[in-house]
């Protein structure tokens, strides 16, 4: 297959920035509307009192925390994966990395909103942060929630850096290709990038350092999220497996999210030439591995509970296996295991983008269910049967939780409007192609500047 020329790359990838079609406005209008509705709904909730949700005694966590865990999980798509790929120098990563990292940043932003949205007194959320007050009271550092706060912030900062660094050369390119206000803005963003060897060198070093640093953070984030549950003496929550279980699940759902995002970008921005089926196939392989891993974890968790045969845990166990929550549970198993293993296991379906997308959609649904099934059945079924209860979400929660999907699309669309969704300079310097590797990057950068 022929690789598009550098000029081709520029024109293809910068086109969406320079020309805006009516579809763009339509999309923004549609998804923006949904997001605004959700924000309004949330203000209504904060104003009226938390009771307008379906949360009740004894199920005190529901849709919001589920969505929180889910989005934090999705955020493991980008930074983590692209960091790994960078480190192992997987060449096929090049078109993928940025749209992956973007998912991380946005998913984190959305996920981090939920702990605030679910507070009984959201206007006091800043008490989670350590700040000197006349009360001389700091947050309780024993509480996993406080560590969530730190972990998420660290990961978000790291991811933003990780995303921004490789943008600089591209900003420079756009700067040079545009005029007027836009030129000035991108000029500022590109921080005076001239593509000197020094700058290139610094960029590369920074990237490799970041790649190494971000890995443990990424892993720690979802481990800490899992502590939210494993630290409380609730049946089926207090499990040593939760750390790796959550991380695996997170990466799993992350990849699925990434595949879907790539598929959409490919269609909307006509990037057929850059996001090739092989990329999907590779990610599909990765997803296959994670599906199997996930299956192992779930099987392990269930088996251990079953053999442990602790009454309270068995109550929850049966409730999910064959009582009120069974339909959801088995849907989850199909979506998370059966579907991806079959579709990604068979070469034919794995090679088709549709196959990958279908499997990914299944995984996204399944992983959301997984979080729901971890949280709700246990809470509704703690130790004293007198205090059993059933949680039913109210429309309001469904709207807010659902609107976050619209939110990420919206953010993505807007992002794709201001930044080339594929790292141009990385495309242009494929070491594996002879005749290009010898050219120093800055030469190309300079070459681009001349019209």
């Amino acid at each position: 297959m022929t690789r598009p020329s550098d000029r081709q790359i520029n024109s293809d990838l910068i086109r969406p920035l320079l020309h805006t079609s009516w579809r763009f406005y339509l999309l923004v209008l549609f998804f923006g509307g949904i997001v605004l509705t959700a924000i309004g709904t949330w203000f209504y909730q904060a104003y009226s009192g938390y009771g307008v949700t379906g949360i009740k005694w004894p199920v005190f966590w529901g849709f919001y925390i589920t969505s929180f865990v889910f989005w934090i999980g999705i955020s493991h798509a980008g930074t983590l994966i692209s960091a790994i790929l960078r480190l192992v120098q997987a060449e096929w990563r090049r078109p993928v990395t940025r749209c992956a990292e973007v998912i991380t940043v946005f998913a984190l932003m959305i996920g981090a909103l939920f702990p605030i949205a679910h507070l009984g007194r959201p206007w006091l959320f800043f008490w989670l942060a350590p700040y000197p007050s006349e009360r001389l009271i700091w947050p309780n550092f024993r509480s996993p929630l406080v560590w969530d706060f730190f972990a998420i912030n660290t990961y978000l900062t790291g991811s933003v850096l990780f995303l921004l660094l490789p943008m600089i050369p591209d900003f420079a390119v756009i700067r040079d290709k545009s005029t007027g206000l836009r030129r000035r803005i991108y000029g500022a963003l590109s921080m005076g990038w001239r593509g000197t060897p020094k700058q290139w060198h610094r960029l590369e070093t920074a990237m490799s350092i970041m790649a190494v640093v971000i890995l443990p953070v990424a892993v720690s984030v979802h481990t800490i999220v899992s502590f939210d549950f494993s630290m409380a003496p609730v049946p089926m929550w207090q499990s040593t497996i939760f750390g790796p279980y959550f991380v695996a699940g997170a990466i799993f759902s992350g990849i699925a999210g990434l595949i879907i995002a790539m598929a959409f970008l490919r269609k909307f921005l006509h990037l057929e030439a850059y996001l090739l089926p092989v990329h999907f196939e590779n990610l599909g392989k990765l997803m296959l591995v994670m599906a199997v891993l996930w299956g192992y974890f779930v099987f392990n968790e269930r088996l251990v509970t079953y053999y442990g045969n602790e009454p309270a845990e068995m109550a929850v166990f049966w409730r999910t296996q064959r009582e009120s929550f069974a339909p959801l549970y088995w849907t989850m198993v199909v979506c998370n295991f059966v579907l991806p293993v079959i579709l990604m296991g068979i070469k034919y379906t794995r090679k088709t983008i549709t196959g990958c997308v279908i499997a990914s959609l299944g995984v996204v649904v399944g992983m959301w269910l997984e979080r729901f099934l971890i949280i709700v059945p246990s809470l509704g079924h703690k130790y004293l049967p007198y205090a059993y209860g059933i949680y039913r979400p109210r429309v309001l929660e469904v709207v807010i939780a659902g609107a976050t999907f619209a939110a990420i699309v919206l953010l993505y669309v807007l992002f794709a409007k201001v930044v080339p969704i594929i790292s141009m300079w990385e495309l242009k310097t494929p070491e594996h192609e002879p005749g290009h590797g010898d050219q120093a990057p800055e030469v190309q950068a300079l070459r681009e500047v001349q019209p």
Partner: protein, 229 residues
């Protein structure tokens, strides 16, 4: 420094529910009304659990009053990010309303499910509000509340004793539930005082703690109901 504790004699408890109403009256617990009650928002700091055993005609029923167990090693405390749920020197699990931001994490962590959340600002149809006890805060929307062992009575008695320069005697302090109980099934006192009635009852061979194996070290001892038939 005392360690406040309670003993509930299930052989005396008749399940009449006097303690439940007494608690509402003492602690300004608002009634939420039928609709919210149906949605699981009713607040009963103390509840009388009942459990059926057997089938007709060989049926038995067990009553068990359950209030906050004021655990010595409380799961609700470490999880609270703002120290709203916090341990005091005399062994109470304080619930500090003004520090509570409503994560409801403590309620999830509590294995006894004795914590209740204010889903809305509590309301009293006037003039019912004239009954409100000025010694107890009115909670507001978004905070967690639970049994306090009637801390306001503990404080009042302690301050009074200090004023009279006397020692607190066993039985001086009676939480509302203890005071109301017609069958005197509930006993309250200082577990660090070996002579107090509650310590002696806690030593009883009939005594056991609720969900003891979770390692929460509850301050409430349940004296099992005997069967001689």
């Amino acid at each position: 420094m005392p360690r406040w504790g309670m003993a509930a004699d299930l052989d005396r408890c008749t399940g009449c529910g006097a303690c439940v109403t007494a608690c509402h009256a003492e602690n300004n617990i608002s009634t939420v009304g039928p609709y919210q009650a149906m949605r699981g928002r009713a607040k009963h700091w103390i509840r009388v659990e009942r459990y059926w055993e057997g089938e007709f005609p060989d049926v038995r029923l067990k009553f068990r009053p359950v209030m906050c167990q004021q655990c010595g090693n409380a799961p609700c405390e470490p999880v609270c990010p703002t120290y709203a749920s916090q341990h005091t020197e005399d062994g109470l699990n304080a619930q500090v309303y003004n520090r509570c931001i409503g994560t409801r994490y403590c309620a999830n962590a509590c294995p006894y499910t004795v914590r209740f959340f204010d889903f809305f600002n509590p309301e009293w149809d006037k003039p019912l509000h004239l009954q409100l006890n000025p010694d107890v805060s009115l909670r507001e929307v978004g905070v967690m509340e639970k049994c306090t062992f009637c801390v306001q009575r503990i404080k009042a008695a302690t301050i009074q004793a200090k004023a009279d320069e006397t020692e607190l005697k066993d039985g001086d302090i009676k939480p509302a539930c203890v005071q109301s109980c017609p069958a005197q099934a509930l006993v309250f006192g200082d577990l660090n005082d070996p002579e107090s009635a509650v310590s002696r009852l806690s030593e009883s061979p009939r005594g056991s703690k609720l969900l003891e194996d979770l390692g929460t070290h509850p301050a409430v001892t349940y004296l099992s109901r005997q069967t001689q038939v």
